[in-house]
Point group: C2
Chain length 342, copies 2
Amino acid sequence: MLKNDLLLRTARGESTERTPVWLMRQAGRVLPEYRAVRMNAGGFIEMVKNPEFAAEVTIQPVTILGVDAAIIFSDILVVPEAMGLPYKMVEAMGPWFEHTIATEADLARIHVSDGSEIKYVADAIALTKKNLDHAVPLIGFAGAPWTLFAYMVEGKGSKTFSKAKQLLYTNPTLAHQLLQMITDTTIAYIKTQVAAGVNLIQLFDSWAGVLSPMQYNEFSIEYIKQITDAITTVPTTVFAKGAFFARASLNKLSCNVVGLDWNMDIAESKVLLANKVLQGNADPCLLYADEATIVQQTEKMLHDFGPSGHIANLGHGLYPDLEKSKVKLFVDTVKAYRHGSK
Amino acid sequence: MLKNDLLLRTARGESTERTPVWLMRQAGRVLPEYRAVRMNAGGFIEMVKNPEFAAEVTIQPVTILGVDAAIIFSDILVVPEAMGLPYKMVEAMGPWFEHTIATEADLARIHVSDGSEIKYVADAIALTKKNLDHAVPLIGFAGAPWTLFAYMVEGKGSKTFSKAKQLLYTNPTLAHQLLQMITDTTIAYIKTQVAAGVNLIQLFDSWAGVLSPMQYNEFSIEYIKQITDAITTVPTTVFAKGAFFARASLNKLSCNVVGLDWNMDIAESKVLLANKVLQGNADPCLLYADEATIVQQTEKMLHDFGPSGHIANLGHGLYPDLEKSKVKLFVDTVKAYRHGSK
């Protein structure tokens, strides 16, 4: 049914004629075409909540960069908002929550959502699917519970998330209650995405790296497991940024794919994650280099991952100031590469 | 000569009667006594440049917390300043450089320093040594070349240091020239610290974690090695925050001690760093917990590291909002613990 299903076949562990490629934040500021839509929409959250705008920028990188998958343009923080914690995007600061969770009383003011408050995402998915016309798979996504918890407790981005971590130590019961509410909401929300037509789900645990291995098992992996166990009809990817220490634990989950950041050695990760297809892991800063270096290091990465079980991507989202032509060179290099030819 | 030389004996690999303990950022805002001096001095940089203030706050944690070592109150960014790049500490933002390094012309405007511009640190060390009266060892320190490079190119703190990393890709020759200038200055500077009386040197590679393993070897380890090879009269510690991937490389350096952050599994680190004494690695957020949890998890850490080859510390600096009494409980727990008794 899909004209290009390389990503899905690779995610399911099948051998494919070449390595599929897409980019985290491919629908983003690196494309002048995205910036034009954003100016027209009036802002980031306005784009997220408007299915026409969201569908348009979701499809842009498929057309402009030639990637093998689209990922629905949205934000992980729509889940806290659906649960009763709205947020704003503040220029040069990022997300900011007026209300945060610190006590049982705060918890009583939020609720488990069935996803109905986030219907605009399902609408954007349905419209994108129609306009994509089966060209490539559409990826849906959600934040992992720990990462959403971190924002809901801290109230904003942080280098250390020390306030969020403090709650794990001072009131683990409350922390588990909140994590369970986030998990239940996320499962319901992902099911609305699947029903609307996404072909694969990626969980982003963006702040995995601030936890100790013991805390990560208790406060993150346990909840990711509930989600990957609950999503059985489409393949799933877990990207736990910075959680090098959790690779053996991630290998035991029922997800199909694990994302790697650029810190993680490829050969070592192939051993620790032997059950999983791997996604990643070029340094986004590689795309600042000259063309010869981009091609050479991208080909080295493809060689190191090998001919199967790999989805090419960066180890993090694209940085907004990268040049579109260099981003496209990365995509083109992956698409031109044939394993065994070098 | 020192009344308490536990830290030095442990750093040299000798067995000791108990595990020594000190804390990164122990001379800092967690102590009300420090905040009083800072208010009196007028600011952070003013304290750094005034030997009386610096000596006073250096000794405070020895008296107040009972730690087994003092660490000279200073800042890693005095080295860029000595080379010709002055900086300011901006409230809620951190360090900020008016001029940064981007081109060969920028490099021509700075110089390798012999440490004479930073004589106030040697003066603070001499005064601290006198006032400490041989109570405990005094630790000197410097930033690792990559971390100083990151600030000198980026101009301020950053989550990604993408501008600094960009230079590694776009002009590696210039990057190596700057790293060599920083390294030469750092060796001269550390020698002034040793001459003034410090008993051990710690190198802080605070931004190690943003590099790929390959880049870390090329742009950081090579320069750390020059420094640890040049410092032969006192023991040396390397703390490369986030460089989990570099543990096997760090094990080959001539340093005595390697610092671990709280992400790094203790048992695994003991294998990867078999030649080294290890320092760390409690999560600073543990000190937000109740007293029973602090004692229990600190004792677990001590048990896991074992009776020798370990210097107790956190895996990062103290956070300013921690309670002094809980910080002291961590120190007291280490000092009361006897291996084999539990």
